[in-house]
């Protein structure tokens, strides 16, 4: 319609302006910087060994990328992040779906439970991470799962072992996000017409049978969005990583690796950090887009 066409740019421009200022321009600059010997406050000239007189003198080609891939810390952070994401996505999704199935099943006070499960999501940041550190180190290790009580060695010292810490992080993340994802699943479940289940039960289908044949396929749109959100969240996880283990015992995730690269090098190699951030972006984008494409196709097949 002509009317909308006429007003398209005037209404889009404010958002484009913000987008350009805050994301596009800094991002392009970031990509440019990943090809330069950038030191954060100045550009380094490899030829003279001093501050470069212009940005172009600081061009180092793919050196930062090469360095990043040769850095064992970067590679191990990459591997660790992939492992973590795998576990976290499963944890959060299973927990969220289980919660959603349960709260939709009960008749009374389902609202109260939803309110409680969603609550952790309202509170974020480092502070709660520190409280969880306290829980893993004192409550799990010394009280609940100590040899004097319910002895479960796997749940002790979880922040001091790279494999256990994966699960500790996933538990914290599940605590924080399961309630949120539950709400999305509840919405999806409520969207499934009761007729399907009635028909199935008349046919004598068991609970699991109708869960597999009706619930799961009908929930595909919810899976798409929940997977997308949990994948992106897990990949970018930072605060909890800092608070819980601070990257010790080989538990550095990618986001933290990027932040810490400038601490590992002196003078700080911001170019290399930026190169890692670009690789990181490509990875996040690649994985999440593939995931969306796959689950979307499943939706279509329905």
């Amino acid at each position: 319609m002509n009317f909308y066409k006429k007003w398209f740019w005037p209404l889009v421009i404010p958002s484009l302006l913000l987008f350009t200022m805050v994301i596009l321009y800094p991002f392009i600059m970031g990509v440019v910087n990943s090809f330069l010997a950038w030191r954060g406050t100045y550009y380094f000239d490899p030829d003279t060994g001093t501050r470069a007189t212009s940005m172009f003198k600081s061009f180092v080609g793919f050196a930062n990328y090469k360095e990043a891939f040769q850095d064992t810390r970067f590679i191990s952070a990459l591997v660790y992040t992939v492992k973590y994401t795998f576990i976290a996505v499963i944890f959060v999704n299973v927990a969220a779906l289980a919660l959603a199935l349960m709260v939709t099943k009960i008749t009374k006070s389902s609202g109260i439970y939803r309110t409680i499960f969603f609550l952790p999501n309202m509170l974020g940041g480092l502070a709660l991470g520190f409280i969880w550190q306290f829980i893993f180190q004192i409550i799990f290790t010394d009280i609940l799962f100590s040899p004097e009580a319910l002895y479960l060695p796997f749940l002790r010292y979880m922040t001091q072992d790279s494999t256990k810490a994966l699960f500790a992080l996933a538990m914290l993340n599940t605590w924080q996000y399961a309630g949120y994802m539950m709400i999305i699943y509840v919405a999806g479940l409520n969207n499934i017409s009761a007729d399907y289940y009635e028909a199935a039960s008349i046919d004598g289908a068991s609970y699991w049978y109708s869960f597999r044949k009706i619930t799961i396929p009908m929930l595909m749109p919810s899976f798409t969005i929940v997977f997308f959100m949990t994948l992106a969240n897990s990949f970018k996880l930072l605060d909890q990583n800092v608070a819980l283990t601070d990257g010790e015992f080989g538990t550095r995730l990618l986001a933290m690796q990027i932040l810490r690269t400038v601490k590992d090098t002196a003078p700080p190699n911001y170019g290399k950090a930026q190169a890692q951030a670009v690789i990181f972006f490509i990875l996040v984008a690649g994985i999440t887009l593939t995931q969306v494409a796959i689950t979307k196709r499943k939706e279509v097949e329905m």
């Binding site: 406050t41 100045y42 180190q137 004192i138 010790e248 400038v262 601490k263 700080p268």
Partner: protein, 492 residues
């Protein structure tokens, strides 16, 4: 509903406007000099000092303080990228210098040739200068700090008798490593079954009390150690060993492969001393051993170790004078009675590679005293602003008002203090001044090691692989020393 929504919106807008108005109208810089202070603990006192300077001279001082945690460099870089750069900023040790030098941000203070400020720069003792080659000088020291084993005089009084405190302190300071090791083991045995045992310190005999007293009944181990804090055994404890070979940060920074390899003997001594220290541990809930608990920050973090010591559960606590405030927070009475004794290591005379005549005995009776932080002048700001920065720094370190703030308000030990006449309102500070007066001080070569070598590499390795391991053998000492050397060579 709609009306109330509009009212809420209007209110929000009005009230937001009041917040944002503060940021507007910054055409004038609003200051004559801008001081960036990275010792966030004294933020309020520092601001008061700047206000006092403004009142005296009319020079407008903008000040910004931030904690010495991990974000300090990020913030400083973002300030350096801004149009309003700090005129005076902070550099923590030689590790941070290359960045500011390469970027052209830091002014060599030796290029200032006239005035009181130039005299002040020239008078900074060689060992306290921020310099990569011994000729340049890039900063004015904030203060000096030191560390060793902190001990409570009243605890010694209960252990050895009230009349022996001063003598026993002097003799612990002078004792050999072997005597120290015996002392540790004897006290440890005494804690489980108190009886009058005698120990030799500096060749003299002392006898432990036959029963426990008010404080010593709380003892459950000899040392309070923060197993979760890598910097305590990475940076600081290892630094004592580095002193056997390296005399300064500069020497460490310029050390060639051969010199790094010659650290072997000293690093073996370090591993043995660390083994001793972590074999007789006190804990919050009774005697502790190396293991996973020992590296958990909820059990053996900074606060927990302070608590262990302040509750008199341990005799010795390896920390610096900065811990005074933490200890005073838990046990103010005890904080008034503290002294340092040196960190001792089983050096052999052939481990000592420095050529200034330092002996094993001298190393084992000295404590590291070093400058944790420097004020640097920004080479990028206009000359007139630099001059004002010089004046400010001179005033701060030489005027009565400035000195009063440094000593009384910041509780610093001034770098230019005369050890014979200076006292500070802090028992640990005064103990350091005593060591300075007797010349029993070591330097901080760990700051000249490759970035993150001491804490995040060696310290981390020790935490992950050794502090969790119950028993160490000679091959562990060997492995620690080799790992430290290999990493240094690889990171250079």
């Amino acid at each position: 509903m709609k009306k109330s929504l509009i009212v809420v919106l209007v209110l929000l807008m009005a009230f937001s406007a009041s917040v944002f108005a503060q940021g507007a109208g910054e055409a004038d810089k609003g200051y004559d000099i801008y001081v960036y202070n990275s010792k966030g603990e004294n933020a309020a006192q520092f601001a008061a000092m700047c206000a006092a300077y403004e009142a005296e001279t009319g020079i407008r001082v903008k000040n910004f303080s931030i904690g010495s945690g991990q974000d300090h460099m990020e913030t400083l870089r973002s300030e350096m990228n801004s149009r309003q750069m700090p005129s005076i900023f902070s550099i923590q040790s030689l590790k941070e210098l290359p960045e500011w030098k390469q970027g052209g941000f830091v002014l060599d203070l030796n290029t200032v040739t006239s005035g009181d400020f130039a005299k002040m720069v020239a008078a900074i003792p060689q060992g306290l200068r921020l310099s990569s080659d011994g000729k340049t000088s890039y900063g004015i020291p904030y203060n000096v700090e030191g560390y060793g084993f902190i001990v409570d005089r009243d605890m010694l009084s209960e252990l050895f008798g009230p009349s022996k405190v001063d003598a026993v302190l002097l003799d612990i300071k002078a004792a050999t490593y072997e005597e120290w090791e015996t002392l540790v083991k004897t006290i440890d045995a005494w804690i489980t079954s108190p009886k009058a045992t005698s120990v030799k310190l500096n060749g003299k005999s002392y006898t432990l009390a036959s029963s426990k007293g008010k404080l010593s009944k709380n003892l459950n181990g000899v040392f309070a150690v923060m197993g979760a804090e890598k910097w305590t055994y990475g940076d600081h404890f290892i630094n004592v060993a580095l002193n056997a070979v390296l005399t300064s940060e500069t020497e460490a920074q310029q050390a060639d492969d051969a010199k790094v390899k010659s650290l072997k003997g000293a690093l073996l001594a370090y591993a043995k001393a660390l083994d001793l220290k972590t074999s007789y541990l006190a804990g919050l809930k009774g005697r502790a051993v190396r293991g996973q608990d020992f590296v958990s920050s909820s059990n053996f973090g900074y606060d927990q170790a302070v608590q262990i010591f302040a509750d008199s559960k341990a005799v010795f606590f390896k920390q610096g004078n900065w811990a005074f405030g933490n200890i005073a927070g838990v046990n103010p009475a005890q904080a008034e009675r503290l002294e340092f004794v040196p960190v001792k290591m089983p050096f052999q005379s052939q481990d000592i590679k420095r050529t200034d005549g330092t002996t094993v005995a001298k190393l084992n009776s000295s404590i590291p005293v070093f400058v944790p932080n420097y004020y640097a002048v920004n080479a990028m700001v206009p000359k007139a602003e630099q001059q004002k920065a010089f004046d400010f720094l001179y005033w701060m370190n030489n005027s009565d008002t400035g000195k009063k703030y440094i000593v009384e308000e910041f509780a610093f030990i001034p770098y230019n203090a005369d050890p014979e006449t200076t006292t500070v309102p802090n028992s640990l500070g005064n103990s350091i001044i005593d060591y300075m007066a007797s010349g029993n001080t070591l330097s901080a070569p760990y700051n000249g090691a490759p970035a993150s070598w001491s804490g995040d590499v060696v310290g981390l390795r020790i935490m992950e692989s050794y502090l969790t391991k119950r028993n160490w053998t000679a091959s562990d000492y060997e492995a620690i020393a080799n790992y430290a050397i290999d990493q240094w060579l690889a990171m250079k």
